[in-house]
């Protein structure tokens, strides 16, 4: 066991992930050499994952406010007002590095962590979503990672008892060494029953709640703040181990406790466990915190102060208790079989003091631990612009029907049923739209409201043009919610990028954020919470810039919604929005022509809003019940998905003369939707669209058992479905 007063060598500092100048900054701050425990504390507080030292400066530019935003970024999760005294509390967080090392537990504890962030604010979780990216299918590690991550997400969420209703899964070689596992949780609370982390009152008891502390996950947050190399396997002990049963008990006990009036402030113990939760609670409330680690419930013998402060054992919370309510509070926790221990108190010294076995092991200035964390304005270079690929510059290597069949059964576009059938998406009995559509819809309590939920981003667009890609990520989330009839209210962002120490990837980060901010502003879709995950690279090779957006929207009447499936024969199929045949960075160009190149489709945010508001109004007025937005694979893929979902074909006969057919069908022009509606209503809709300048044109009619593309290219819906549903189960069958 290392002594608390061990000599702090440069090697020890380096092992703790601190740069020499960061260490010097710390020494200057406290005016002496730190103890080992203090070194551990600062290594956690000042790592990238906890301090956001490379990203803080740029995050400041994001729009975070709106009349319906109760709490923006800075708390455990974001809070929006959804009317009638109810609030929706949500956030997305990454667990990329742990999931690569230990996929089941990495993903499971990712889900556990984000659920806690939501219920620590008093919200019962009602839905879970995720965003996953894996390496190329042929990479030897991919099947194992897919299998483990999906099993872990399901294993935790299903047992805890929250429906996992939506997500995104994709594959690309740039994630070969760094997969992405982002978990999103959504909960409901009454607006006057929301709990925050800010400690108040001097001399108030600080209480430890939940599972015992062990040696798992020590330095987990520090591991997440660094790149991988060949020795990554050795990092296994840094992965936390989750127990969803304990978390379910913790949820029920916390909600009961909150109802009792005993909670002044509460924070979950996530990254850097006891350290970050205690420091944040005190600092937010301008109070000092004194902890006596002798009182911390441990499940290992002989744990040192250092280990206890850095342990990332799961399913634990820290709270400031209303004095006098100790017995009542303890009884609740004992009923649920969980540990309850008074481990410290708030003070007026603004010091963070850790005592153990009769000694002071750490004594640090509490506000400065956060406020004086390094703040970097890292050098960055703007990504080079890519050339616009003209539609005429792309030769079609096969017929459109052949191309569509190929894409429908490709790794990125195929049905992800193999994934979401491992998630309980029906528990709680409120899932109005299940996985597979544009957005999930969950009813709010007994209704009449509903929430529309989605996660999305197009990483190849972000790589080609971070600004446009950032805009597009938000626009697509907005469109997904609109397409089911929801009014988009706010987003949570999970920004996954490579090393900020390389100007190229820092430039991607800066560019994407600018795009995200622009889109949030124009679309009235503020950021209320989020997470930054940097250093997603291995041996210098970084991931595609991947700012995942988690969107939440509101349906005033959840029974009035739209879904992608064609529902009737003889419906007019109408394309809303303008098509130029944009093939640059399209799936068609990549997977059919073998070219990953070009500038991505530009996003005209004004047109997005105009077109989307029009579509939403059509849904809400009851005129339209069948809508799909156009994204990967363009119009053709949207049509195929509508046909497969409804088991009804369509005949597409109208197409522009001035565009190559493959550009019309597979171009990924933004701001577009496909709707299907009876002929009479179609005429009205075309008229209404014309009146406000929304491009709208009838391109065909539903019916039959085949999707017939122009040129009489017929593919049976049966054949489409077979290709669509078989790729992923076949891929996993040999290797799961």
């Amino acid at each position: 066991m290392i002594r608390n007063d061990v000599a702090i060598t440069p090697e020890l500092v380096k092992e703790h992930g601190l740069k020499p100048d960061e260490y010097d900054r710390f020494v200057k701050l406290i005016g002496r050499t730190p103890t080992l425990t203090e070194l551990g504390i600062v290594s956690a507080m000042w790592n990238e994952h906890c301090s956001y030292k490379s990203s803080r400066i740029h995050l400041r530019g994001l729009p975070t406010q709106a009349p319906w935003v109760i709490q923006g970024p800075g708390e455990n999760a974001g809070v929006i007002d959804i009317g009638d005294g109810l609030a929706c509390i949500f956030k997305m967080e990454s667990h990329n590095h742990p999931s690569f090392i230990e996929p089941y537990q990495g993903a499971a504890t990712g889900v556990g962590g984000i659920l806690r962030d939501v219920f620590t604010m008093g919200a019962r979780p009602i839905a879970s979503l995720n965003f996953l990216r894996f390496g190329e299918p042929d990479h030897p590690k991919t099947p194992h990672l897919v299998s483990g991550v999906v099993a872990g997400i399901g294993g935790y969420g299903n047992s805890f008892g929250v429906p996992t209703v939506g997500g995104s899964v994709g594959f690309h070689p740039r994630y070969n060494g760094n997969i992405l596992v982002n978990a999103m949780a959504v909960g409901l609370a009454r607006t006057d029953e929301i709990f925050y982390a800010k400690a108040t009152g001097i001399g108030n008891p600080i209480v430890y709640l939940g599972s015992k502390t062990g040696r798992d996950g020590i330095h987990g947050a520090t591991m997440a703040s660094a790149e991988f190399d060949e020795s990554s396997e050795e990092k296994r002990p840094t992965v936390q181990v989750g127990d969803p049963f304990a978390e379910k008990l913790l949820l029920e006990a916390c909600l009961e406790l909150m109802k009792s009036g005993a909670v002044i402030a509460i924070q979950d113990m996530g990254a850097a466990g006891l350290t970050s939760s205690a420091v944040e609670m005190g600092a937010k409330g301008n109070l000092g915190i004194e902890l006596d680690l002798d009182k911390v419930p441990c499940r290992e013998e002989g744990m040192t102060a250092y280990e206890m402060m850095l342990s990332e054992s799961q399913e634990r919370m820290l709270m400031v208790l209303k004095p006098g309510m100790e017995e009542q509070a303890e009884a609740i926790f004992h009923k649920w079989g969980l540990d309850f221990a008074i481990i410290g108190k708030t003070t007026d010294t603004l010091r963070f003091v850790i005592k153990h076995e009769g000694e002071v092991k750490a004594d640090l200035p509490i506000k400065e631990l956060g406020d004086e964390a390094p703040l970097y304005d890292r050098p960055w270079v703007e990504s080079p612009k890519q050339p616009v690929i003209e539609p005429s510059g792309v030769k079609a290597p096969m017929t459109e029907a052949e191309a569509l069949l190929k894409l429908v059964g490709s790794p990125d576009q195929c049905s992800k049923r193999w994934v979401w059938e491992q998630y309980d998406h029906l528990i709680l009995g409120n899932t109005v739209q299940t996985p597979g559509g544009d957005a999930a819809i969950v009813r709010v309590e007994a209704g009449p409201k509903g929430l529309a939920l989605t996660t999305d981003v197009t990483p190849r667009y972000c790589e080609a043009d971070p600004f446009e890609g950032g805009k597009q990520a938000v626009a697509e989330a907005w469109r997904n919610i609109t397409a089911v009839g929801g009014l988009p209210l706010a987003i949570t962002d999970n920004l996954n990028f490579a090393s900020p120490e390389r100007p190229e990837s820092m430039g991607e980060f800066v560019g994407c954020l600018k795009g995200i901010g622009e889109a949030c502003r124009i679309l009235d879709f503020p950021v209320v919470s989020g997470n930054v995950s940097l250093y997603n690279e291995t041996n210098g090779q970084g991931i595609l810039p991947t700012p995942a957006i988690g969107g939440v929207g509101l349906l005033d009447d959840v029974t009035v919604n739209a879904s992608v499936a064609f529902k009737r024969d003889e419906d007019a199929v109408i394309l809303i929005g303008a098509t130029q045949g944009w093939l640059g960075q399209s799936i068609y160009l990549r997977d059919v022509c073998g070219r990953e190149e070009g500038a991505p489709p530009p996003v005209d945010l004004v047109h997005e809003k105009r077109n989307g508001d029009f579509v939403r109004q059509l849904i809400r007025s009851g005129q339209v019940d069948t809508v799909h937005d156009c994204s990967d694979g363009g119009l053709a893929l949207a049509l195929a998905e509508m046909a497969m979902a409804g088991d009804i074909g369509a005949m597409i006969t109208a197409y522009p003369e001035n565009l190559p057919l493959h550009a019309f069908l597979f171009g990924e022009d933004q701001g577009r939707y496909v709707i299907a509606v009876d002929m009479d209503t179609a005429a009205d809709i075309l008229y209404e669209a014309g009146a406000i300048g929304v491009p709208a044109v009838t391109i065909g009619v539903t019916g039959g058992s085949s999707l017939i593309l122009p040129g009489e290219q017929a593919i049976s819906v049966k054949e489409l479905k077979a290709a669509h549903e078989s790729w992923l189960p076949d891929y996993m069958a040999g290797k799961a």
């Binding site: 047992s159 049963f245 491992q422 029906l426 528990i427 709680l428 899932t431 029974t559």
Partner: protein, 230 residues
Amino acid sequence: MKSAVIVFPGSNREGDVVRALRLAGSDVQKVWHAETELPKGTDLVVLPGGFSYGDYLRCGAIAGRATVMDAVRTHAARGGLVLGICNGFQILCESGLLPGILMRNANLKFICHRQFLRVERNDTAFTKAYAQGQAIDVCVAHGEGNYTADEDTLRRLEGEGLVAFRYSDSHGHVTPDANRNGSMNSIAGIYSTQLNVLGMMPHPENLVEDLVGGTDGRGLFESLVSAKAA
């Protein structure tokens, strides 16, 4: 009809079944696992879905030995109605109220999907609202739903007509494809000898509203309510 829904640490579908019972007109109370008695006048005891005790040891093993189960056993012995759904079915098997055991799904994975069931008999308190052989469209959500029993037990269950539901297709055909968890004889639910205890893996309580997928699950709860009204 008065229903008591038992809540164990880790139960998570009690809200769903409370809703289904109330929709059918039952008066429902939740009962904590540490209670020694059921509420007075309880007609139906429900063991809901979930992961009681985290599925530690074996699914339902610990809950099957919980304090409240003595009262449940007495209630069943007296002819009282007991419904165990999913984890509830596992608990009934562990507590000795039903034979056999639920093993890990054949594909070793948790599965959640819509599932047709064939109603094997419609003359019990649970199924009077259905037709004999009717295919009902409900759902499953489980990792350990693979019903397994020794030969003698299976023979007895089949011989005495104690199989309540089987996994089927939409036409009521009991095909191998329709049996995704590998249960012996495609058994999705069984009765006790006196037909007053039913254990089933699927979730009828999640299919009681069109808004969230359909109403084929209602029949079970409506049967129970009218059985007690009679």
